[in-house]
């Protein structure tokens, strides 16, 4: 129920912005007083309110004012502004609390914060809470107006110099157009985005488009699949570790959160993240600091997190498998990638795109689907979504000798591709085998240490190795491990359990 309410609130807001965009397309500018954009100024200093009001009114904006956070919330309930401009330090409710309260009911409302004495931690916290801009007092007129215009996306120079949002995403459907419109609105800020959708719908493509349209575009975009990495390795991959933090940690490892500093970290299949790591991630999102495994020191990080899953995360929360506090922290703006079956009108454009791409890659003539083949593909169920469609096109173009791909080939390729989806048991077995190889590698084939990491006793571990036809000796390099700086660590000397070592 709560989720539905939030969803409709977003829709209402996006319609509001849709009007703004249409106004812009129709040539309605900020000096058009017949349809002025409303800005709510919140400050307990009447001189500041008067100054900001004069500047904004002089540029064609309509102004509402409030002298406290409580009054601002009351005004927001009565009349919806297009942007909020608030002081950080005020009597009673401060600007940060006001920002949270506004975004709790209206996550896409642009809020600009003004402060005379904020430090970097406050600015970073505000950025992560989805602030549109953070300005220091005394502010100059031009700075204020350009930031308000930017928050409202009214600046023509920005529109002209930027590439179209999600330029690489192929679509004609209304469902995708609406999704991309919402995604573009949140791209500019640091607001936390959560993408849901079936496997193969292109959640990572959307996350990349958001990153590319954000001020972080020149910094790294790092994606990690939380479901594909065992817990111990995932912890180390995300948070990093110090040398000797646990058995097999022969070198210091920075971790992906630090590697993505200044940029975006995409956490795919977040629903598969173990509960223990969820607590650690929550701390990072709250404090903007990361503490590598085995370290006593926290390192500040400035990372925008975009997460995604194919699961119904609200249900996972109900089952107690996902932390509710983390869920709400991640799910500030939910975006849902429609399945291919929900956007069938995009299939012809997608087929054409993949046919074109393959022809270019192979430096060959572009092939086409016969009309009945196209009709068949349009009506197919596509459980594997765009990824499956891409594979089908690849298969058809490879196996067809002529320029036209016939219906029989389309049918056969779709059958083949569907058959290619593994059963759960096969997938689980493959995962287990990869996991065992992973722990044997990092322990150099030391069974006792590997079993300890895996949380099994040695007998069980040997049984698992036998089931997967793995031999621990194949991973050994003579008992002592060569490190990069030519020192050696005797793994047998590492007697402490993993958890104790991490507390060092």
């Amino acid at each position: 129920m709560q989720l539905q309410t939030r969803f409709w609130q977003i829709l209402r807001t996006s319609r509001n912005f849709g009007t703004l965009q249409r106004d812009r397309e129709l040539g309605v500018g900020i000096n058009d007083t017949s349809t002025p954009y409303r800005v709510l100024i919140v400050d307990d200093d009447s001189d500041m309110v008067a100054l900001l009001s004069t500047w904004l009114k002089g540029s064609g904006f309509s102004v509402m004012t409030a002298s406290s956070g409580d009054e601002a919330l009351t005004r927001l309930g009565m009349s919806r502004p297009h942007c909020v401009l608030t002081d950080l330090y005020m009597e009673g409710m401060d600007g940060m609390t006001l920002l949270s309260r506004i975004h709790a009911s209206n996550p896409l409302m642009p809020v600009i914060m003004l402060s005379g004495q904020a430090g970097i931690p406050e600015a970073m916290k505000a950025m992560h809470l989805g602030i549109a801009a953070f300005l220091t007092k005394p502010v100059e007129k031009e700075t204020l107006l350009s930031n308000v215009s930017r928050a409202l996306r009214l600046s023509s120079d920005i529109a002209e110099t930027r590439p179209r949002f999600g330029a690489g995403i192929i679509y004609r459907s209304t469902a995708m157009a609406e999704l991309l419109e919402k995604a573009e609105l949140v791209a500019d800020s640091d607001i936390t985005v959560f993408i849901s959708g079936q496997t193969g719908t292109g959640k990572e493509v959307l996350a990349k488009a958001i990153h590319e349209a954000s001020p972080r575009r020149d910094k790294p975009f790092i994606g990690v699949n939380c479901g594909a990495i065992p817990e111990q390795l995932l912890e180390s991959e995300l948070f990093g570790h110090e040398r000797g933090a646990f058995t097999g940690a022969m070198n210091r490892h920075e971790g992906l959160l630090q590697a993505a500093n200044g940029g975006t970290l995409f956490l795919d299949e977040i629903g598969d993240m173990p509960l223990g790591l969820q607590v650690k991630l929550l701390r990072v999102l709250q404090d903007f600091e990361v503490r590598p495994v085995g370290s006593t020191r926290s390192v500040p990080v400035n990372v925008r997190v975009i997460s995604a899953t194919h699961q119904d995360l609200a249900e996972t929360v109900k089952r107690g498998e996902f932390r509710e506090d983390l869920y709400y922290r991640l799910n500030v703006v939910p975006l849902h990638m429609p399945s291919l079956a929900e956007r069938r009108e995009d299939i012809p454009a997608l087929l054409d795109f993949f046919l074109d791409r393959i022809a270019q890659k192979r430096n060959a003539k572009k092939k086409r689907f016969a009309p009945d083949a196209l009709e068949y593909l349009l009506a197919a169920p596509w459980p594997g979504n765009v990824r499956q469609l891409m594979n089908v096109v690849e298969l058809c173009t490879t196996l067809t000798k002529t320029d036209i791909i016939p219906l029989s080939m389309a049918k056969s390729a779709l059958r083949e591709e569907s058959a290619g989806i593994q059963t759960l048991k096969v997938a689980k077995d493959a995962f287990e085998r990869n996991y065992l190889i992973g722990v044997l590698r990092i322990t150099n084939g030391h069974v006792a240490n590997a079993a300890r990491i895996a949380g099994r006793n040695r007998t069980e571990f040997y049984k698992l190795l036998a089931q997967h036809h793995l031999n621990a000796a194949d991973f050994r390099k003579g008992g002592a491990v060569e490190t990069d700086d030519s020192e050696s660590i005797d793994i047998d000397a590492a007697e402490n359990p993993v958890d104790e070592q991490r507390d060092v």
């Binding site: 001189d47 500041m48 004069t54 003004l114 004495q117 007092k137």
Partner: protein
């Protein structure tokens, strides 16, 4: 005389802004008599934030000094800041452009 150039759009607001600063001097003196340094800090902070925007950078600087002095509970520095502000307000000549 100290000549200050101010945005013509602010012409209607400036007299009120400056008279509020005169009132600030009286308020700070009263707060100082009561030893209410937090109240003085808030006034200094407010002056710091608005002065430059109106075109009076000096008021921003005095406000910042007042804020720092209030945090340090330094009565002498507060009195100095008030004296500077009083002198400035008596000296300025405003040109609107």
């Amino acid at each position: 005389m100290v000549q200050v150039t101010v945005d013509k759009d602010l012409e209607d607001l400036v007299p009120g802004f400056l008279s509020n600063r005169q009132r600030d001097i009286e308020k700070v003196e009263a707060l100082l008599a009561r030893g209410d340094f937090d109240g003085i800090r808030i006034i200094g902070h407010s002056m710091k934030g608005s002065g430059g925007g109106y075109g009076f950078q000096f008021i921003t600087e005095v406000g910042a000094g007042l804020e720092r002095a209030a945090i340090a509970c330094n009565t002498d520095l507060i009195r100095n800041a008030l004296s500077e502000l009083r002198h400035y307000l008596a000296q300025i000549e405003i040109v609107y452009r």
